[in-house]
Amino acid sequence: SAVISQKPSRDICQRGTSLTIQCQVDSQVTMMFWYRQQPGQSLTLIATANQGSEATYESGFVIDKFPISRPNLTFSTLTVSNMSPEDSSIYLCSVLRDRGAGEDGYTFGSGTRLTVV
């Protein structure tokens, strides 16, 4: 399975600023996803990062707040913009080797713990 390097692992940020989280995969993957996990809660899909085109956002998440880039098949970034304390969460990158690899193709990054003060 793919190996993911997600950076930073944690950060404490001032409200009103932005943070960019990086997700680097050691092999080419078809699908890349960004999830948010609020304290003590489940994982909620923010968006699917599409290579060479705009990300596909889930209801409740917008591009202005969570811009995503995916310049190639091994790398993606998620930016949390104009942060407020409500953005304090764990953000996880997940990849799927290819769309047909549903059984064991999912890999998760170790997450970024963001605290906004």
Binding site: M31, L43, L92, R99, E103, D104, Y106, S110, G111
Partner: protein, 118 residues
């Protein structure tokens, strides 16, 4: 839209005993995947077990097994001979196989926090 429900926010088990975590889901699709993931305090999501909906046989991985009841839309996880290292959050997840139904992402339940008592 598909939903996944885990009705047990917290569970506790004595070391070496058996515990069952519940999961139900709602879908109109006939083919899909179901997963159980473990998330220890390190935050790393670890795949515990997976089940293809078209397979009637329940999946088993060492001490972990599932009871998959497709008609009832139930997918429970049984952990036998519980160990201290099993303590974690456990998430049940669903994946649609319908091209128009999703981006290929997982849909997660709210999770069950499992404690193991020595």
């Amino acid at each position: 839209a598909q939903t996944v429900t885990q009705s047990q926010p917290e569970m506790s088990v004595q070391e070496a005993e058996t515990v069952t975590l519940s999961c139900t889901y709602d879908t109109s699709e006939s083919d899909y995947y179901l997963f159980w993931y473990k998330q220890p305090p390190s935050r790393q999501m670890i795949l515990v077990i997976r089940q293809e909906a078209y397979k009637q046989q329940n999946a088993t991985e060492n001490r972990f097994s599932v009871n998959f009841q497709k008609a009832a839309k139930s997918f429970s996880l049984k952990i036998s001979d519980s160990q201290l290292g099993d303590a974690a959050m456990y998430f049940c997840a669903y994946r649609s196989l319908w091209e128009g139904g999703s981006q290929g992402n997982l849909i997660f339940g709210k999770g069950t926090k499992l404690s193991v008592k020595p």
